[in-house]
Amino acid sequence: GAGVSQSPRYKVAKRGQDVALRCDPISGHVSLFWYQQALGQGPEFLTYFQNEAQLDKSGLPSDRFFAERPEGSVSTLKIQRTQQEDSAVYLCASSLASSSVANTGELFFGEGSRLTVL
């Protein structure tokens, strides 16, 4: 399809397990964002990539969270030693241009990966 694709759509993990969430952005999109959305809340910024460079990771809640985009397209968000508070929907979004261009702005979102940690 032509949209942002995320997998898995649903993931149940036991506390302490590692998980990996994948995002396949729209082809040619330079910018890629990861957001975390807890139940009843809005998306909270985690990290941002411009091509393969991770320009901002200020939103990652702990050093258990790690994201990469090695070839500037597909991105993976990895959570090590999952905790119950990590339960949320993880949203990936991409954008055509770099975030420094003022006349862009629309983010194209995937459907999210819902993580439940037991």
């Binding site: 009843g40 809005g42 998306p43 909270e44 910024f45 003022a102 459907e111 999210g112």
Partner: protein, 114 residues
């Protein structure tokens, strides 16, 4: 911290009623503002955006929003809602000239009764 706040978390309306959802931001300087919508079972998608110029912005599906700088507000409006407008609505903003990373409000759940 720079943020976006939405005052109404749950709104219930009957079809044909008018809608106004509040959004306030705390950025200084030039700001870019957005409204996104998430229909049940679907992904977030852009309704409209404001960068500069006419403060009254028109978006898809009959929605509009007004940027009022003096009130730090960007409220979403629709004169007559339909059952199909039932969805979650998120206001977002970003500092132009800053990180350009959008910050989202908590969201408003809108239910429209037929």
């Amino acid at each position: 911290a720079q943020s976006v706040s939405q005052h109404n978390h749950h709104v219930i309306l009957s079809e044909a009623a008018s809608l106004e959802l509040g959004c306030n931001y705390s950025y200084g300087g030039t700001v870019n503002l957005f409204w996104y919508v998430q229909y049940p079972g679907q992904h977030l998608q852009l309704l409209l955006k404001y960068f500069s110029g006419d403060p009254l912005v028109k978006g898809i599906k009959g929605f509009e929003a007004e940027f009022i700088k003096s009130k730090f507000s960007f409220n979403l409006r629709k004169p007559s809602v339909q059952w199909s407008d039932t969805a979650e609505y998120f206001c977002a903003g970003r500092q132009a000239g800053g990180s350009y990373i959008p910050t989202f409000g908590r969201g408003t759940s809108l239910i429209v009764h037929p």
